[in-house]
């Protein structure tokens, strides 16, 4: 970790970094022109920091795991189904759900920019937007999965979805074995953000939590 403790002062932290100054200058200029309401910026940040995140996607996944009719409807028309749960909005206008099975593992990337299903997963992580992920996910998805500690059996094919249009993909990870008795909340705790991008798998319940 770059900053494990903050009880001493780094000289370079006394001034904001260069891009921080640039965005501050731009915000100030646009505010003075009447084009930006700083309180609206705070509201946007609060939305993506605290209110819209991967729990929305986990809710959808768990419903798909536990309700066959919901799962069928989700695979048929994800936009309609997630909208009914209230998860519609910017960068999630056209949703498609893809399901991992015994023989196919799905994984999502945007090689041209950073397309990502915001209403279901929130703002994408840094690695999703990195050159390394964008460049490598389509050519060597299994090596990328290894970077995440995931090894797939050789009889599982990888299907990488490159989001080149406005369609956004949600991966439905496989439900871990031995989770039959778990309630919705306990199941949601097993669904990681990465498992819904396809760079991870859903967790197995920790021993003793059932």
């Amino acid at each position: 970790m770059p900053h494990d403790h903050d009880d001493h002062t780094h000289p370079h932290t006394l001034l904001p970094s260069d891009p921080a100054l640039r965005i501050k200058a731009l915000e100030t200029l646009l505010t003075r022109k009447g084009l930006i309401d700083p309180q609206a910026l705070d509201a946007i940040i609060d939305t993506y920091e605290n209110r819209i995140g991967p729990r929305n996607g986990a809710h959808v996944v768990v419903k798909a795991w536990t309700d066959p009719a919901f799962r069928a409807a989700l695979l048929e028309d994800a936009t309609k189904v997630v909208s009914e749960l209230g998860y519609y909005g910017r960068q999630g206008e056209h949703m498609v759900a893809v399901e991992n099975t015994d023989s196919v593992h799905n994984m999502v990337v945007c090689t041209l920019c950073s397309c990502y299903p915001w209403p279901l997963l929130g703002i994408p992580p840094t690695w999703y937007k990195s050159d390394a992920y964008r460049a490598r996910a389509v050519r060597e998805p299994r090596k990328v999965l290894a970077d995440f500690g995931v090894a797939l059996p050789s009889d599982v094919a990888v299907r990488v979805w490159d989001s080149t249009a406005e369609v956004r993909y949600l991966v439905i990870p496989r439900r871990p074995d031995g989770t039959d008795g778990l309630d919705e909340k306990a199941l949601m705790d097993l669904v990681t953000r990465d498992s819904m991008i396809g760079t991870g798998l859903a967790h197995y319940p920790a021993a003793g939590t059932t």
């Binding site: 501050k24 930006i36 309401d37 460049a135 389509v138």
Partner: protein
Amino acid sequence: MTRPHDMGGRYGDGPVIPENENLRFKEDWHARALAVTLASGSLGQWNIDISRHAREKLSPTDYARFSYYEKWIAGLADLLVHSGVVDPREYAGADPVPSPLADRALRAQDVDKVLATGGPADRPSQVPQLFSVGDAVKTRKVAANCLVDGGHTRLPRYAAGMRGRIVRFHGTHVLPDSAAHRLGDAPEPLYAVAFRAAELWAHPEHPEDEVVLDLWQSYLVADA
């Protein structure tokens, strides 16, 4: 097209570094850059394709050295000038002139509604649907915009001139190659097209792997 943003399949980028899932914004200014970009977008002076193009046409040196949100800031600064919203002299320190667009500024009480409304890209189209699920197709040989020399396109270079098959029809959507250059929505059929990894790469990791891209009909021809 050989812009630096079109990096799918490129070698040499090193490992992907996973990240704590609870981290939302690594730096406070990242959050600010996102919010200023979204709020500026709601002024209605450009669409998503124009803003993507603004980022990808940064000079290759800048594109390579800027961090993610620096690209956003740089793209936004250019967009504001090219759309006539900001005078470059204002960036240089001249007194800001109040904008005639000020009554369109996004207000805090409208943020939820604007984010929840989104901006769907599907549009009715007169273009007949040529392909169905299962059809064999081939992509354009060169990943280039056919309307504007050097313009925006959403066919990545690695998938140009390749054979695939239609796996899904998404309806008719705005064509980015047109919309990014203010030439109109030009909606046409959009498909998910699957390509075998062995078609795309000389040394695929696994014979059964594939890559699926969403591609507009004008990017495709029937593969006899």
